[in-house]
Subunit: 343 residues, 2 copies
């Protein structure tokens, strides 16, 4: 089906050119209608630069831009004509089927929550991130939408992640783990202990606490954590990978045989780089809002943009929002869990 | 000066052999008297196995062992004759000048705090970790002693880290950063905002928030964070480094030229491994308790043990505890800061 995917052209470090290139790629490879939201003149110029027919894309003019460092709440309030606020509104009005932005993450969360509201029964939105591991992918929720969460929020992230993994990543009864500072149920603070208890009492395939050292082991399909710790984990892993690779290459370059080794291993290094490249995994689903919203990485290139659009399409195909609604309301009915979570 | 350093022989994944080897190394290379705390027979056997003269070491018999997975508080209460509880007691009674353990981290924190109490003015202990970066070392406090901290605790970690960096890592006026999910002062939750304000009002060389992606950049000498996030950051970085290195090597091994490249680059890979090896940086100081306590990595080998003992000696040489006491009481006098921190 030819979905209509709204794409924020003003957001992202490489906007507008790489975003436009991503839109062109997505239209060609996925067959979706991509609705470009941003400054009209900039969009037209960028399309022309890429030699694309202007008639292939619908453009929605959004004269204002929310910068990466702006305060999410304040910018959403003030910049009603920004690409992010208009994109969320288009989705609310069903003029598009999904919205993708590589802009200010906090603003996307804020604008989407305000315009779309939350799925009935869900208390807070959470950002899901696909992390590669040797045997596949782990979905980590939340990596930054909610930095002052209550236990019920994490419990619901577990439900939503589980539904997502089942539908979009196509696995029956995916495992759910809780990111904590130790494996035993007794580890962590009161907050994590309460979340642990609620998962244990639920029908989810909960495998207990997951230590951060196992985040890349593939031990759990879904990993639940608070947005503060999740964001730290995500950023540390990104920078650590870069640091290790850089350090390693520099050490090799400082040695004659190392240089020869590097040259010979060039092809495998390229393969490796592709494996750990975030662009492969597309964008991060914003789970919990009542509409399909995908947050792309700020550094997204054309391929990452296309893959983010692809993720949006997968969610639509699987009717993710409706399925989350059913599951959240089913699992949260449990009286024991309500008591544990004090709701 | 020949310090008397107490060493826990029962703690650590490679106890007792690697720990004993570390003690022998430390005695030989650093000239310290190492007091071995653990099961007497095991210690004697291990010394004999290494061909060391039993007369070179004082042994304090500690028949009980606290296992890695045991609950810290409960095990310290129940196992009064464990190496960790006895080691902390020896330090309290000044029968040793410092105590080093690679055992159960929580139990070391707990036993040390109970036996030694905190430095006057300090409200909570914190674990400091040395993290390598391209230009030197960052000291991160706290990485797991205190997972439910108040802002005053983090403020004091900043002071203690600053004193430590100045004295032990020999740098005037070291910079202090606060680990957060964004650089701007407005980023984070109420907790981090309050800590940020207190640092800004202080005489420390505070450089503001530090994003986790910059943890390996060497941007800050001292990095302050809550023990939960700090522990996650530490564990993620460890596993990420392993994951990246393993992935990279496996990719290279799957390709003919890659294998040749690997063989040629063997020497540089070894150099690289050494650079990111935790064993180089010794143990983690337990800051805030009224005595020199060093927590070694659970996986410590002989060299790591020796380096942990070396760190203990450096703290003693610099009279760290007394200097921390003076500085904490000086900085915490500030009325504005007291008001910000609500103390």
């Amino acid at each position: 089906m030819a979905y209509r995917i709204g794409l924020d052209i003003s957001g992202g470090d490489r906007a507008p050119d790489e975003i436009i290139k991503g839109a062109i790629l997505a239209r060609k490879e996925l067959g979706y209608d991509v609705v470009l939201v941003g400054v009209k003149q900039e969009i037209q110029d960028a399309l022309t630069k890429q030699g694309a027919a202007l008639s292939n894309f619908e453009i929605v003019h959004a004269p204002e831009k929310i910068e990466m460092a702006e305060s999410p709440a304040a910018s959403c309030r003030k910049k009603k004509n920004s690409s992010i606020v208009i994109g969320a509104k288009l989705l609310k009005e069903k003029k598009i089927d999904a919205f993708v932005s590589c802009g200010n993450t906090g603003a996307v969360v804020c604008a989407s929550t305000l315009a779309l509201r939350l799925i009935e029964g869900v208390e807070r939105p959470g950002i899901g991130l696909m992390m590669p591991n040797p045997s596949g992918i782990s979905l980590v929720v939340d990596v930054g939408a909610n930095i002052d969460p209550k236990p019920i929020h994490l419990f619901q992230y577990g439900i939503m992640a589980s539904v997502y993994y089942n539908l979009v990543l196509d696995k029956e009864n995916p495992t759910v783990g809780l990111l904590n500072i130790g494996e035993e149920a007794s580890k962590g603070n009161d907050f994590t202990k309460s979340v642990h208890k609620s998962f244990t009492a639920s029908s989810l395939n909960f495998t207990g606490n997951l230590e951060a050292k196992d985040l890349f082991s593939g031990k759990c399909d879904c990993v639940v954590c608070d947005g503060f710790a999740g964001n730290i984990a995500l950023k540390v892993s990104e920078s650590c990978a870069t640091f290790v690779a850089k350090f390693l290459l520099e050490t090799m370059k400082s040695d004659f045989f190392g240089i020869i080794g590097l040259l010979l291993a060039k092809r495998s290094l390229k393969k490796f780089k592709k494996m750990i490249d975030y662009a492969e995994y597309g964008g991060a689903p914003l789970l919990g809002v009542d509409g399909v919203v995908i947050i792309g990485h700020g550094r997204s290139n054309a391929r990452a943009v296309k893959n983010a659009i692809k993720v949006a399409g997968e969610e639509l195909k699987r009717d993710l929002i409706a399925k989350i609604k059913v599951k959240v309301n089913e699992v949260c009915q449990n009286q024991d869990i309500k008591q544990i979570l004090n709701v």
